[in-house]
């Protein structure tokens, strides 16, 4: 089952395309990071997935074949928006009660236990909680709905390092206990490997890179050697990024065969996730979907595993 599947998904706001030709098939049971610069279309994609906006073209389904935003889908998808929207003038206790009354499925005991564990006082006004606690409250409410898919829009952006750690620990512990899928967007690349095992990179409304993070890392290498041979070596691989000095060149390449024979003087090194993401973001024309998939296979929406 795919938790999110899109086919030629596109969204236009007046004259600007926020998303174009977006083909995705995200397998279940993953923690997916959606990465891209500001304005890349991350929020639009997430909003389409939870039914907060309708596509201009193409289709998007969640949790198998449920139309995004349909009643069945809304029951099983939980969403925490960018600024963790809560009613600031309600007490924490009332906020829990409101959420319970607005949802058909809500585990109040679980929510209360979690809030006790987080030491969030139930009588405090929501607006008086710290930013970190507000984020934790919003997350607790989302988790109490017992979702099969949890969607988080920029959950870490406004949090300090400690609150970030606590917030993600809460998400990860809930995943370990219940095994639901998570999609979260972020523009911070450095911490992703800790949380995510699947990556979607968006730039200018298009999917630049998608796949299992381990697969992405093993299928890319940094080759370095003498500059005068770089074109020759580059011909053997798909080159994502080339950096040249007078005598020395460094190529970030995608290899399908693993270790190929490199001419003498060339070295192959592993690539870090941050390096890889930045390389794909820096050069929009490098857009390709690594892994065993050819772009036309993707349209069918199957992930070869």
């Amino acid at each position: 089952m795919n938790v999110v599947e899109t086919s030629r998904l596109a969204k236009r706001y007046r004259r600007t395309w926020a998303l174009r030709d977006c083909n995705l098939a995200v397998p279940a049971g993953r923690i997916v990071a959606l990465v891209g610069p500001n304005g890349a279309g991350k929020t639009t994609l997430l909003h389409c997935a939870v039914g907060l906006c309708t596509a201009t073209n193409g289709t998007i389904t969640v949790l198998g074949d449920l139309a995004a935003g349909s009643l069945e889908a809304l029951e099983r998808v939980a969403f925490v928006a960018q600024d963790a929207p809560l009613y600031k003038y309600l007490s924490v206790r009332s906020m829990v009660a409101v959420t319970r009354n607005l949802n058909s499925r809500f585990d109040q005991a679980q929510a209360e236990e979690r809030l006790r564990g987080l030491e969030i006082p139930p009588d405090r006004k929501v607006g008086k909680l710290s930013g970190g606690q507000q984020a934790q409250l919003a997350l607790t409410l989302a988790l109490a709905r017992g979702p099969d898919l949890l969607v988080l829009d920029e959950p870490l952006a406004r949090l300090d390092p400690l609150a970030r750690h606590d917030f993600m620990a809460l998400v990860m512990a809930a995943v370990a206990a219940s095994g639901f899928s998570v999609i979260f967007s972020s523009h911070v690349v450095s911490e992703l490997e800790r949380f995510a095992d699947y990556l979607i990179v968006l730039a200018n409304g298009r999917v630049q890179m998608v796949g299992d993070i381990d697969d992405l890392l093993t299928s890319h290498k940094v080759l370095s050697g003498p500059a005068k041979e770089s074109d020759l070596v580059g011909e053997q691989f798909t080159v994502v990024q080339t950096r040249k000095a007078t005598r020395h060149a460094e190529l970030l390449v995608r290899t399908t065969t693993g270790e190929s024979q490199l001419p003498g003087g060339w070295e192959s090194e592993d690539v870090s996730l941050e390096e890889l993401v930045l390389a794909y973001l820096r050069d929009p024309s490098a857009s390709m979907l690594p892994g065993p998939l050819a772009p036309d296979e993707l349209e069918v929406g199957e992930v070869a595993r």
Binding site: R30, I31, H165, D166, M168, A169, L170, M172, A173, V175, A176, A177, S190, E191, E193, R194, F195, A196, D197, S272
Partner: protein, 146 residues
């Protein structure tokens, strides 16, 4: 067993966990029958992906170092041949009061000491096998049934 992560090390997270368990076994902090922390506890304390912890535990199991009992947890099944704590202490003492003292007296700084020690260690391991005692790698030797 307490795990910690070094984000800057460049070593994949799951391997860091594997290495730390192996290290703890070698030093005798973990022994046969000990339970490894439960996945959800590791996940909550480090805030990392549960799949990463599962991968590390699977890796340890494949190496025959641990065994997973469904519903109960993951337990240490084997110990690599370890050097006892007492012996370690005496080795450490002889290093500190002997060679390290001499090196300092000769004017070697910390970096120089490390470099020299590492070079000597490499030479020592590169010698032909028969002229040195068997390496204490321990991965092959198993205590207890896996």
């Amino acid at each position: 067993m307490v795990f910690r992560l070094e984000p800057r090390s460049g070593v994949p997270t799951y391997l860091q966990l594997v290495h730390q368990v192996e290290h703890a076994l070698r030093l005798g902090y973990l022994i046969h029958g000990d339970q490894l922390p439960r996945v959800k506890d590791v996940v909550a304390s480090l805030s990392i992906n549960p799949n990463t912890v599962l991968k590390a535990y699977r890796d340890l199991e494949q190496k025959g170092l641990t065994i997973g009992r469904p519903g109960q947890g993951t337990f240490i099944a084997a110990s690599p041949e370890t050097v006892g704590l007492e012996q370690l202490t005496s080795l450490r003492r002889s290093l500190a009061s002997g060679w390290l003292k001499e090196a300092a007296a000769a004017g070697l700084d910390e970096q120089g000491t490390i470099a020299l020690f590492m070079a000597a260690l490499r030479d020592f391991h590169d010698r032909p096998v028969e002229s040195r005692p068997a390496r204490r790698d321990g991965r092959q030797r198993r205590v207890g049934a896996a």
